[in-house]
């Protein structure tokens, strides 16, 4: 990797170098030259590498936020205006921490990366692919061993690059809109888990959990108008609300007639009772 006067940050944006970058570059160069992918069984090495990755992501995020400092200021005003509790402002809180003290976020970021790594390397799909590729009956075992060795040599680097891109994918401010749209579409159209995991393997959509987290977070966000909002008059639009009525369906279970309560809806997949924003309304 060549470091020139201009370097790319983690989002691929070209920014001006400054003196503080040198230290980061030196450590990055040293870490890059080290045999960091040699042994994934050594947890400390992995965590060190992931910490470095997390630091790169956070510094990139800090650059972007610094460029949009005015937007963040207005965001703070928004938060103040709504007087939301801190739990509802995880993303905004994270942005503020990136600005003020990014180092404190590194352990959390590294933990997330480790989780992704575990998900990828320990995923049954990888195991199945290995088995399907190398364990075919009648093959020359010596050739298979060579192929396995060559595959393992590049596999770890490939996994690291996937982790890096996956980490960016789960960052909702950098996820490509098309990926986000596809993920939400999957959620709203009740995509089966098999179809969902296939798309995740192809990296064309977020995971279901990440999508639900995203919707959970953005549901608290409101677009602000360019005028001061009246608290004298409020204006609300309603339609008939038969979409989210629960209905009882009869079915047989071990010869017994039982009734199951289902949501009578075609417009939303499911509404977990634990995350219902309006209290005192629960599914039976």
């Amino acid at each position: 990797m060549e470091f020139n006067d201009e370097c790319e940050d983690t989002r691929g944006r070209v920014r001006e170098r400054n003196d503080s970058d040198d230290d980061d570059d030196d450590s990055a160069q040293a870490w890059f030259n080290s045999d960091r992918y040699s042994d994934y069984d050594d947890h400390d090495d992995v965590m060190e590498g992931l910490c470095h990755e997390a630091r790169g992501l956070l510094l990139g995020a800090r650059d972007v936020i610094e460029q949009h400092i005015e937007a963040v200021d207005s965001l703070k005003e928004t938060v103040e205006w709504f007087k939301m509790p801190g739990s509802a402002n995880r993303r905004k809180d994270g942005m503020r921490r990136i600005l003020e003290d990014p180092e404190t976020l590194i352990p959390e970021g590294a933990e997330g990366l480790a989780r992704h790594l575990e998900g990828l390397t320990g995923h049954s799909y990888s195991r199945q692919m290995q088995a399907a590729t190398y364990n075919i009956k009648g093959r020359d075992n010596e050739e298979v061993r060579k192929a396995k060795k060559a595959w393992k040599k590049t596999h770890e680097l490939r996994v690291a690059s996937i982790v890096s891109s996956m980490a960016r994918l789960t960052d909702q401010s950098s996820v490509p809109p098309l990926v986000l749209m596809r993920s939400i579409d999957n959620l709203l159209t009740c995509t089966p888990s098999a179809g969902w995991s296939r798309q995740c393997r192809e990296q064309v959509c977020l995971s279901r959990n990440a999508t639900e987290d995203y919707l959970d977070e953005v549901s608290w966000w409101k677009p602000m108008p360019n005028y001061s909002v009246s608290n004298t008059y409020g204006f609300v639009v309603y339609d008939n609300m038969e979409f989210r009525q629960s209905v009882e369906k009869q079915r047989l279970q071990n010869g017994q007639l039982v009734k199951t309560t289902l949501m009578h809806t075609t417009t939303s997949t499911c509404t977990p009772t634990s995350t219902l924003p309006y209290p005192n309304l629960t599914l039976t």
Partner: protein, 346 residues
């Protein structure tokens, strides 16, 4: 994901600081003469005649499909139109609009979620009627809430009333001639609104083209349709068809135009004229709704009147003439439909 309601933030400047004086019940002032809802002949000639003149200006020989296109920026009556900002309210489960218990729950939900002293709601006719009668029967429950009826549902029922009134003499022959299926019968199918509207405007365009060719040397006759109707009164099919085009289909197009351009005066007239359409077709719920909504529209205090005028339509894009009915904000019926010939209806 749609929540259980949509809040539109209002400008602080809309409230002039003067507390409303409502002796009856907020926002009513008790000064309205309810007979004023019945439109006079002069009002009908003024509004329907103006719609017809606008329609002739749009649907020309050079552009027979003019009614299908979005109107130009010069038609827009909303100054500095911007994209409407709205916020989704949280989701409610197991709450409908068919009972007063549910109405109470909804009102309490709005009370909890919307940070305002006075709350103005807009809904479809069912929601509107439930809220209206709830406020009537339990005036002390939520004295700071009022509900207006949305124009989208009203427009659609006018469209259905037009089809009922003219089915045998206008629509059935045309449907059979063009082989159009799925639109006959007394049933009102919400999802076919755009399809029906497309055909209606197509028939209207064809009628205007036919009239332009008949009166090619005397186009001035088209500007005064009541006089023309008197001229052809002994030719019953022609009388019926021109009467349908002028008094019904032209009115439907005028409703749509008023929504797109944000003509609130014309939208108020829509409720007056719709009362006649509903009355002839036994749409009793909407007939009552006309009276109830007219009372609110005309008798409300000035602040509310200004708010309702300001928030009569919404726009997703902020482009000129892109207004949509406020109750359509929560509908799942498309405003824009691609017809069989890929013709874009505005």
């Amino acid at each position: 994901m749609r929540g259980s309601g949509t809040q539109l933030p209002l400008e602080e400047t809309l409230f002039d600081g003067v507390e409303p004086d409502c002796p009856v019940r907020w926002p009513l002032t008790g000064k309205l003469d309810m007979v004023s809802i019945v439109p006079t002949d002069e009002q009908i000639q003024e509004f329907v005649g103006r719609d017809w003149a606008d329609m002739l200006a749009v649907c020309t020989l050079a552009d027979p499909a003019g009614l299908m296109h979005r109107l130009g920026p010069e038609w827009d009556q909303v100054p500095n139109r911007e994209r409407t900002v709205y916020w989704e309210l949280p989701i409610m489960i197991d709450v409908g609009t068919t009972s007063y218990a549910d109405t109470r729950t909804r009102c309490q939900f709005v009370e909890d979620q919307v940070d305002a002293r006075y709350i103005i709601k807009v809904g479809d006719m069912q929601t509107f009627q439930r809220d209206w009668w709830f406020n009537f029967k339990f005036p002390a429950a939520f004295p700071n809430q009022v509900t207006f009826a949305g124009e989208f549902h009203a427009r659609y029922h006018v469209q259905h009333a037009d089809k009922r009134l003219n089915e045998s003499l206008v629509y059935l022959p045309l449907f059979m001639h063009f082989g159009i299926k799925g639109l006959t019968g007394p049933k009102l199918e919400m999802k076919k609104q755009a399809m029906m509207e497309q055909w209606q405007l197509l028939f209207l365009s064809g009628t205007v083209m036919w009239l332009r060719r008949v009166f090619v040397n005397d186009l001035g006759r088209l500007e005064d349709i009541p006089a023309l109707l008197g001229h052809v009164k002994k030719n019953f099919p022609v009388l019926n068809h021109i009467g349908w085009a002028y008094y019904h289909c032209n009115f439907i197009w005028g409703d749509k135009k008023a929504t797109r351009v944000g003509d609130t005066r014309r939208l108020n007239f829509m409720w007056q004229y719709s009362l006649l359409m509903y009355g002839l077709t036994n749409k009793n719920t909407y007939k009552k709704g006309c009276l109830q909504n007219w009372l609110l529209l005309e008798d409300c205090e000035d602040n509310v009147k200004e708010v309702v005028d300001k928030r009569r339509t919404y726009t997703e894009t902020g482009r000129p003439c892109s207004g949509g009915d406020m109750d359509h904000l929560r509908e799942r019926v498309s405003l824009i439909c691609l017809g069989n010939d890929n013709c874009l209806i505005f």
